[in-house]
């Protein structure tokens, strides 16, 4: 591991100010991803500003009836929170589907959102990777790409976002509160992560020095009828082949409203807006769910090894919505 300066800031302002002046510094929260990547020298910050104890580690009610999750809330605590479990079950399920108990205890809400891809070429400094070294080429496009993107990829990068939590938050219309050198801002989660385009080195729209301080969940009643389904090659402790977070509002057999987000298919949690649009006002039926999934997946561009993700995503979207329509009745 490259040497770095370890700094414990006193507060968020101090942490942001410290980082703003250090172009190669990074925030350190739980460390479950960053520390590993530093060992591999995939990431080589020269300064770590420890923020684990700086932001709130609580889940609190908001005036509008929503919830605010402090960025330092550990994944295990968030998953167990009774308000989350009852009002946003997809989020709790997503958290519990991720990693292991040991890692969930360390990992934070803010850090989880900023997880880096598991693309094996990105994690291997001896192979070309545009995300790690812009312009060096993408090894995955012509390589082993079973775990890579089918939606929204570019000729520069086909990596996927690995988070489960972020997929659930994408379906649940979360807002990300950020503090940076320029002050505070509030970002819809849809705008936090980005597609690779021709800048695959940028995972998110955050600027250097911006720190996630909390996440807000809106007070949407039917989010209590939400679910996270993760498909993985072993029963636990594995990244998703494909995952789906969905929330469904049904009245008299008709889809009133719906949210669908996919994991494991794109460079960001993929909000399936086309499928949502197709379903609103339509009867909640298997055929309609399947047709909506197909509409969303029309744009899929599978690679050599991942064409299976298209039928898999279609099946999981369909099944998850069916489960919700049965449970929501």
């Amino acid at each position: 591991m490259r040497p770095y300066k370890y700094v414990r800031a006193q507060d968020v302002d101090g942490a942001v100010a410290t980082l703003a002046e250090a172009p190669n510094a990074a925030f350190l929260a739980g460390g479950t991803n960053l520390v590993d990547l530093m060992k591999l020298e995939v990431m080589t910050p020269d300064m770590l500003v420890d923020v684990r104890r700086l932001t709130s580690d609580r889940v609190e009610g908001l005036d509008d009836g929503g919830l605010r999750i402090g960025a330092a809330v550990p994944n295990s605590v968030l998953a167990a929170d009774h308000k989350i479990r009852s009002r946003y079950p997809a989020l709790s399920q997503a958290l519990l589907a991720g990693a292991s108990g040991q890692l969930r205890n360390l990992a934070t809400t803010g850090g989880n959102l900023l997880q880096h891809t598991r693309c094996v070429y990105w994690q291997d400094v001896t192979t070309p990777c545009n995300k790690r070294e812009p312009g060096s080429g993408c090894s995955a496009i012509e390589g082993h790409n079973k775990n890579h993107a089918i939606l929204g990829a570019s000729e520069h990068c086909v990596a996927t976002h690995p988070s489960d939590m972020a997929v659930a938050m994408a379906a649940l219309d979360a807002f990300i509160n950020v503090q940076g050198p320029e002050g505070e801002r509030r970002i819809p989660i849809e705008e936090l992560h980005r597609l690779p385009g021709d800048e695959p080195q940028r995972d998110t729209t955050l600027q250097h020095g911006e720190l996630i301080t909390s996440v807000d969940l809106p007070p949407v009643e039917f989010f209590s009828n939400s679910k996270y389904r993760k498909v993985r090659e072993r029963a636990s402790y594995a990244f998703a082949l494909v995952s789906v977070a969905a929330a469904l509002d049904i009245e008299d057999g008709i889809v009133g409203d719906v949210r669908i987000a996919l994991g494991g298919v794109a460079h960001k949690p993929w909000r399936a807006t086309k499928a949502e649009e197709a379903l609103r006002g339509e009867p909640a039926s298997e055929a309609n769910f399947r047709a909506a999934a197909d509409i969303e997946l029309e744009d899929a561009q599978p690679l050599r090894d991942n064409a299976f993700k298209v039928p898999l995503a279609r099946n999981v979207i369909t099944r998850t919505l069916l489960d919700l329509s049965e449970e929501g009745r």
Partner: protein
């Protein structure tokens, strides 16, 4: 004088708790890295970033300037090895690179992180040559002279082509198994120290003496000047059966810092190069049968890989030579020599991949013949071992199949594929046979010494890699000497004790146990029942003349329930049954674990394990436990393990057959056969992942 009453045995067969258990559950058992040494240095290796070619330059100046860095070892400054005949082990003797991630140097530093940091600062330049690192069926293939463990490369009996042309039913199947890595939980580890020409290695190995002999030869020292210590070993599954380059690298580097111990544990990622692996295989099986479902012809043709720098030829089709009866049979092995690390032993080399193919083919053929797969196997049960022409010392495959069917509830199976669904799960059952030969490695010697106070020391260098040898050998010693287990002081895992063969080929108990029995016999002959303190004898594993008269194999049968999610094609295995006929079971508790661990690794082989080589770069790219899957606790369901009481008077004095490997032999096929029964989809290419099932 001893006044102990000699007992009449009874330790063998008891469910004794692990003797090494208390040290392991408290974290105080010293594994290789954990022996307390003074003033150690930490090694981090430099590995080639090309597949094939030459190192043309090394700039270590930035690394050497780092505080804490003691030396950067490369081929430019490394000591010369006395013997460079083994090109896997003759590292840093030239700038030649023969495969990706081969060692081209090492950094020694005062701390591990300093060494790792410095390693990243060393600039190595290369002249690259074209390479081939992926096994291809249409690549250049050659015929090896013989296979691992001395098996012949090819065999042919009868007239297979004639038999196929007249067969009532035929099957032509192509099966593949991927590259797999042993990945014991303890990485390969060496702590090496040279003092006045003597080398001490604290080593994570399956065989202290084999390592001692290898390093003595390579470094050109007398055997008695190299000591290898390995009391606790965190698994091996074959990869620690032979010393690999990591051991030589540590010892070589330690030569440059005489007197200071050098600690080197390869990282998990580095475990995917250079410490052995299971070759990928491409297997073609043809079966012909008459209208009664009796096999008339069997061929098994295998393509697999080896390294250009050293041959390893896995005996993949050897098992087909004796498993079932037929008059016409052919087996062949062809190798592709590639620019890759040397393949090696991984739990049941040969049998594990070979029986995946054969037992999958048997399942397919049973269906074609309209027979239940158990009945089909029973109809093709041989009377003698076709490979040697000898009768079996004991062969209870049929009993295992019948017993297993009963325990598992086979009769409730619906034979038609995809005919049983529960909720969103497609449910299927599968069966497969298991077998493993009784290997008897020569040369082990055991010392028995009476130490007074009713205590007998039993000493030899054997390694317990987690199998339970500490415990089983204590039980064997107790019965051999005729005392209780509390009267035995077992000392193993050190070349300071007499020679012991490798813990490999499920041969340990046969080899070492036979030596103990022989030593006990000689001890009583010389010293009687009332020895004096200090009386001792040493004896060697005797030859077993019965090996001329009998073929010796263990057998077993697996039954698997597979569930496949109809939407996602995720495969789960809620229950497995294994029934074994493996001679006398020395310790029921540790034996059960061995069987179960083998079956779990078979499940892992079926559903998870696959090392993906990117041919452009030449190395395994899914090189960690997040990407190279082995089962978690949540992947395992009910495991029903039992065994047939088998009284085999011919195998060895204990009546035992090896049990370390048979659990993995055939279990992957049982899973594949169950998945077929559940889904109607025959997956012939392991592992069985959702992408191969989804439609």
């Amino acid at each position: 004088m001893s006044t102990t009453t000699r007992t009449t045995g009874g330790a063998i067969g008891a469910s004794l708790d692990r003797i090494d258990g208390p040290r392991k559950v408290t974290g105080t058992a010293p594994y290789a890295y954990e022996h307390r040494v003074d003033n150690p240095l930490y090694l981090f290796p430099l590995r080639s970033e090309i597949v094939r070619g030459q190192v043309t330059g090394i700039d270590a100046s930035a690394a050497e300037a780092l505080p804490g860095v003691v030396v950067v070892v490369t081929h430019e400054n490394a000591p010369q090895l006395a013997d460079t005949g083994d090109r896997e082990l003759a590292i840093l003797q030239s700038g030649e690179v023969a495969f990706r991630n081969q060692y081209v140097g090492a950094v020694l530093a005062e701390t591990f992180e300093a060494a790792r940091h410095a390693a990243g600062l060393v600039e190595v330049s290369y002249a690259e040559e074209p390479h081939e690192a992926e096994l291809r069926e249409d690549g250049d293939l050659y015929t090896p002279e013989q296979l691992n463990a001395g098996f012949p490369t090819d065999t042919e009996e009868g007239d297979v082509e004639e038999a196929f042309s007249s067969a009532a039913v035929t099957l032509d199947g192509r099966y593949t198994t991927p590259m797999e890595h042993n990945n014991p939980m303890e990485p390969h580890t060496t702590v090496a120290v040279w003092k006045a020409g003597d080398l001490t290695l604290y080593e994570s190995t399956q065989g202290a003496h084999p390592v001692q002999r290898t390093v003595a030869k390579i470094f050109g020292i007398d055997r008695n000047r190299a000591r290898v210590v390995a009391p606790y070993v965190g698994g091996g599954f074959g990869s620690k059966g032979l010393p690999h380059a990591n051991t030589i690298l540590a010892a070589l580097a330690a030569q440059m810092v005489e007197g200071r111990p050098v600690k080197f544990a390869v990282t998990r990622q580095q475990m995917f190069t250079g410490v052995g692996y299971r070759t990928p295989t491409i297997q073609k099986i043809r079966l012909g049968a008459d209208s009664e479902g009796r096999l008339t012809a069997v061929t098994h043709d295998v393509i697999e890989q080896t390294s250009k720098i050293k041959e390893f030829a896995e005996q993949t089709a050897a098992v087909t030579r004796s498993m079932y009866a037929t008059d016409n049979r052919r087996t062949t092995h062809r190798l592709a020599a590639l620019d890759v690390p040397v393949p090696s032993w991984m739990r049941a080399p040969g049998e594990a991949p070979g029986m995946f193919a054969l037992e999958s083919a048997m399942d397919e053929m049973a269906e074609k013949c309209g027979l239940d797969p158990i009945e089909f196997r029973i109809r093709n049960e041989p009377e003698i071992d076709a490979e040697t022409g000898l009768p079996y010392s004991s062969r209870n495959l049929v009993a295992c199949l019948r017993e297993g069917a009963e325990r598992f509830g086979w009769r409730d199976r619906t034979p038609a594929p995809r005919s049983h669904q529960e909720g969103r799960w497609l449910v299927g059952n599968g069966v497969a046979s298991a077998t493993y030969p009784v290997f008897r490695l020569p040369g082990s010697r055991a010392t028995i010494r009476y130490e007074g106070d009713d205590k007998y020391a039993v000493e030899f260098g054997a390694a317990d890699v987690g199998t339970g040898a500490w415990t089983a050998l204590t039980q064997i010693s107790a019965d051999a000497i005729g005392v209780g287990v509390d009267n035995i002081e077992l000392r193993i895992g050190d070349t300071a004790f007499p020679f012991a063969s490798v813990a490999g080929g499920s041969s340990g108990i046969t080899a070492w146990g036979s030596a103990i029995f022989e030593a006990a016999r000689v001890f009583r002959e010389r010293h009687g029942d009332n020895p004096s303190e200090g009386d001792e004898v040493q004896a060697r594993t005797p030859n077993n003349p019965e090996t001329e008269n009998y073929a010796m194999h263990a057998f077993g049968a697996f039954f698997v329930e597979a569930r496949v999610d109809v939407d996602t094609c995720e495969v789960r295995v809620p229950r497995m049954t294994g029934v074994f006929a493996a001679g006398k079971i020395i310790n029921a508790k540790t034996a059960r674990s061995q069987f179960m661990g083998g079956m779990t690794m078979g499940l892992s082989m079926a559903l998870h394990e696959e090392s993906l080589v990117d041919g452009r770069f030449g190395h395994v790219i899914n090189q960690d436990f997040a990407e190279y899957h082995i089962p978690t606790n949540a992947d395992i369901g009910e495991m029903d393990i039992s065994w047939i009481d088998e009284d085999d008077p011919y195998v060895n004095p204990m009546g035992s057959k090896g049990i370390g490997e048979i659990g993995i032999v055939g279990s992957a096929a049982a899973v594949a056969n169950a998945v077929y029964n559940a889904t109607g989809i025959r997956v012939r290419d392991l592992p069985i992942t959702p992408d191969k099932l989804i439609q």
